[in-house]
């Protein structure tokens, strides 16, 4: 078609491929080849391409080094349209404060790279915060958790975090959030693996300003996603993230989950990679105990105390879990912390732990006047001795 005005068509002033490399430099950590990263992203953003196809193509190459295999697998340099799409994707990551590395790169989590070749490891990973490289334990479970489940998850995560173990889990509400929160409260680093891209902000409660995700990043942890920035949290993506959770952890603990829980996928992925799987026994009457009980039946280790977790990691359990005899032992005896709560109230909460107690029941059990009891509970909450949730108050074990 001719231009009636006779002016020449506007010329592209910047070469799309050059722009792609520039954008890749902004998100590539040390040791990652920006040009290769740009080419991989360009391949991934092309229609009907995905990480699985890329993996397959890369694995077909007979190169020793992953990077070389990538280079061999990618057809030609991306065309201009792909380059433009990839540039905006990389810019989006940069906006979100993410860094992106390819599998095999020095910045890519070592445990995940190790499995490359015979496991479904993502070709690239985008993260906010610090990934860290110490021992890591995945604590996973249902979103629809009981107060027992969230209580145990918080206990395990808090104790492990104090022993210097990084906690890894999904970003969901329930067990995941409980574990992250307990670890962050103990100033531990945690890794949140998202089931969506970084730009999506799901689940919303955790992705808000000052929400759990911000606290994780602020506490030296990381938010991780293998997905492009705006990919939604659909069922497939959420399921897939479970193998990343298992892949970047030394062991996996399943706290609560139904018969078809995603926690079983995490445990399965961990077992495939010959990593330890532990399960926390639950209440036999509760549907959410199905997953851990099935794992126990299939040979998973039992986890009834943070000590079990730390021993499986080969770490000294001395300072965290206490040296008491029983798993459900009185946290009052293991905790040297003096309580600001009245004795009888404290005793009652200790007896119920890790379950929550409604303040109504607390008042009935102790016979105390409601007003002063509420005041005492608030004081203890401010002092960090207990947490208050929809299902009542629970002692924080430490």
């Amino acid at each position: 078609m001719t231009d009636p005005s006779g002016e020449p068509p506007p010329r592209r002033t910047v070469d799309p491929r050059a722009a792609l490399s520039t954008a890749a430099v902004e998100v590539a950590p040390e040791g990652t080849d920006p040009q290769l990263l740009g080419d991989v992203v360009a391949w991934l953003v092309a229609p009907r391409h995905g990480p699985t196809g890329l993996r397959r193509a890369v694995l077909r190459q007979a190169a020793d080094e992953v990077a070389a295999a990538f280079r061999a697998a990618l057809p030609d340099r991306p065309d201009a349209d792909q380059a433009i799409a990839a540039t905006s994707t990389l810019r989006r990551w940069a906006e979100l404060g993410c860094r992106v590395a390819l599998v095999g790169d020095p910045a890519f989590p070592g445990r995940l790279s190790m499995s490359w070749g015979h496991h479904t490891v993502p070709p690239l990973l985008a993260w906010r915060g610090e990934l860290g490289d110490g021992p890591a334990a995945a604590i996973v479970g249902a979103r629809r958790a009981t107060s027992y489940g969230t209580g145990v998850a918080a206990w395990l995560a808090g104790t492990a975090a104090r022993a210097g173990v990084r906690i890894v889990s999904g970003g969901a509400v329930g067990i995941d959030a409980s574990a992250h929160r307990a670890a962050v409260d103990e100033l531990g680093a945690t890794t949140v693996v998202l089931g969506c891209g970084h730009g999506v902000g799901y689940p919303r409660v955790h992705a808000t300003d000052g929400g759990l995700f911000d606290r994780v990043v602020g506490g030296g942890g990381a938010i991780v996603s293998e997905l492009l920035p705006d990919q939604p949290p659909n069922a497939g993506h959420v399921r897939e993230r479970n193998r990343v959770v298992a892949g970047i952890s030394d062991l996996t603990v399943v706290v609560e989950g139904g018969q078809r829980s995603g926690a079983l996928l995490t445990a399965g992925a961990a077992a495939e990679q010959s990593r330890t799987v532990l399960a926390v026994p639950g209440d036999v009457r509760v549907a959410g105990s199905a997953a851990p009980h099935r794992l126990l039946q299939e040979g998973a280790g039992i986890c009834t105390h943070p000590r079990d977790l730390l021993e499986a990691l080969g770490r000294d359990a001395g300072d965290g879990g206490g040296t008491d005899q029983g798993p459900a032992a009185d946290p009052g005896t293991t905790s040297p912390r003096a309580s600001s709560l009245p004795d009888d109230v404290h005793r009652h909460l200790v007896g119920a732990w890790p379950r929550s107690v409604l303040i109504d029941d607390l008042a009935a059990a102790t016979g105390r006047a409601t007003g002063p009891l509420l005041a005492a509970v608030t004081r203890a909450q401010v002092a960090g001795e207990l947490t208050i949730g929809a299902d009542g108050v629970r002692l924080r074990r430490g």
């Binding site: 629809r144 969230t150 409980s178 007003g371 509420l374 949730g389």
Partner: protein, 509 residues
């Protein structure tokens, strides 16, 4: 004006713009022309039909209808007139204009009432506010329908002349008959409503009710169906002190205007309580309608409780309409011709389910909602709406054992006496009738022990609560201190006040 044209009659009536009375003068004049009636001065349909009613009523009561041209003007001409209460002044104006009644008979006397075709004088809605308005506008005597007389007689400083029909009107005004004596409607003390002693368990909710009653705080109850939200809300009514006479008259006037009150009903000192269904519209809630807007549920709950069950099922736009009136204590409804102001000093009690299916947190029924839906559901509670509720409470279903057990709590009378003492303390501090919930924050701060303020700020910081929570907690703490008989708000009071907040996250540690 010549005698041939008859007398120019001018009879006083009253119309209501909302609760505000406006004087209306009904003027009638007979002049030469074809027989007929011309009614001017912005009459609505009911007023226009008055002509036919009055004509038939007069004729059937044995009076004559002029065989000339009759012009009736409702002055001021630019004020919209609504309803059938102008029948009686209109009939009297015609009687005076046709010299069937001396004009002097109506000096200082106002009239309102509807006419039946046989001459009966019938009551209309809003007789009480109309009578009060007539007095305020300078009437010394008011002709009212016999049936409505007990209600009108509640207005002090106004002589009420009850009339049953037109013949009686003329007889009484002409001095042939003594006006009937009428007793004002009796004053009814609050009867025994549902008692707090019947509530099993729920000590936290009981305490929250006590605090709510003492401070006038808006209360939000969240809990599964059947946990007793409505039951508790009903018992809050019993904890409120009885209304004083002025407030009771105001409440009765509003009910009378809305047509929700029988004229011979006793004057109740019980604070009103309204429970609109959650499908209520914004107009139904704050008032509205064609012509002069009618009072809504909010105004009908003036000096009492507005109970909103299933708060989150009510459309957001409807709830938003509540915000400004709640803050100001009055609703202003502006229409093309009128601007109506209704009072609404209301204590709001709202109940909501914890999740869409309602079973979250229940031990017996598992919740079937997806977690993200729960999140979304609860997020609708956030922000400006949640900020209205000083007291927020998460309730749980009472266990079967507790239900079977004998009642274990205090009675309404016991708690109500503590509430009365606390309210008296607050009134001594802020002035008569002022509740802690209405006091500006600056004044609240002055009645606080400074360390308590620091403690509140520190605690909110530690709990990650918003700055808006500060004011709410401070108000509640003031009430808690009043209940404890303390002059200054101390740390303990602040700590308790902080406990009346909904946990922000579901099932999280």
């Amino acid at each position: 004006m010549t005698a041939a044209h008859g007398v120019l009659a001018a009879i006083h009536g009253v119309t209501l713009l909302g609760l505000e009375p406006r004087p209306v003068q009904v003027e009638a004049s007979i002049g030469p022309g074809l027989p007929g009636l011309r009614l001017v001065g912005l009459p609505d349909a009911a007023v226009r039909e008055a002509g036919d009613r009055v004509r038939t009523a007069l004729q059937r009561s044995g009076f004559t209808w002029p065989g000339e041209r009759l012009v009736v003007n409702l002055a001021p001409a630019d004020l919209p007139k609504v309803g059938s209460a102008f029948d009686l002044p209109l009939a009297i104006a015609v009687l005076v204009a046709t010299r069937q009644l001396p004009a002097s008979a109506m000096t200082g006397t106002w009239a309102c009432g509807e006419l039946g075709l046989d001459g009966t004088v019938r009551p209309t809605a809003g007789q009480l506010p109309a009578a009060a308005g007539a007095r305020d506008l300078g009437a010394s005597r008011l002709l009212v329908p016999l049936e409505a007389a007990p209600e009108a007689a509640l207005v002090p400083g106004l002589s009420i002349v009850p009339v049953a029909n037109l013949a009686e009107v003329v007889a009484v005004l002409g001095g042939e008959q003594r006006p009937r004596h009428i007793e004002p409607a009796p004053v009814l003390l609050p009867d025994d409503g549902p008692d707090l002693a019947e509530v099993r368990g729920q000590p936290v909710a009981r305490r929250a009710l006590e605090v709510a009653a003492a401070g006038g705080h808006h209360l939000l109850l969240s809990g599964p169906p059947g946990c007793g939200k409505t039951m508790l809300a009903h018992r809050l009514r019993g904890l409120l002190p009885p209304l004083d006479l002025d407030a009771a008259r105001e409440v009765a006037a509003i009910a009378s205007l809305a047509g929700e009150r029988a004229p011979d009903e006793p004057l109740s000192l019980r604070p009103p309580m309204r429970e609109p269904h959650h499908s209520v519209t914004a107009a139904g809630l704050v008032g509205g309608g064609a012509g002069v807007p009618r009072p809504g549920e909010l105004t009908l709950a003036h000096h009492g409780l507005l109970l909103l069950d299933e708060l989150l099922e009510t459309p957001r736009a409807v709830l938003d309409a509540l915000r400004q009136p709640l803050e100001r204590g009055q609703v202003v409804l502006t229409r093309a011709r009128v601007r109506v102001r209704y009072p609404c000093r209301v204590q709001l009690v709202a109940a909501t389910n914890p999740c869409p299916c309602g079973s979250l947190g229940s031990d017996t029924r598992p919740c079937t909602c997806r977690p993200d839906r729960i999140e979304r559901y609860r997020s609708r509670l956030s922000g400006p709406l949640l900020d209205r509720f000083d007291l927020q409470l998460e309730l749980r279903a009472v266990s079967r054992e507790a239900l079977a057990a004998p009642p274990d709590g205090e009675s309404t009378a016991t708690v109500a006496s503590r509430v009365a003492t606390a309210r008296a303390l607050a009134e001594r501090r802020w002035g008569p009738g002022t509740l802690n919930a209405e006091v500006p924050v600056a004044s609240l701060r002055r009645s606080c022990d400074p360390p308590a303020l620091t403690r509140l700020a520190d605690a909110l910081d530690a709990l990650g609560a918003s700055a808006r929570a500060f004011d709410r907690a401070l108000r509640v703490a003031r009430t808690v201190a009043d209940l404890a008989g303390a002059d200054l708000v101390a740390g303990d009071h602040v700590d308790e006040a902080l406990a009346y907040r909904l946990p922000t996250l579901v099932g999280s540690a």
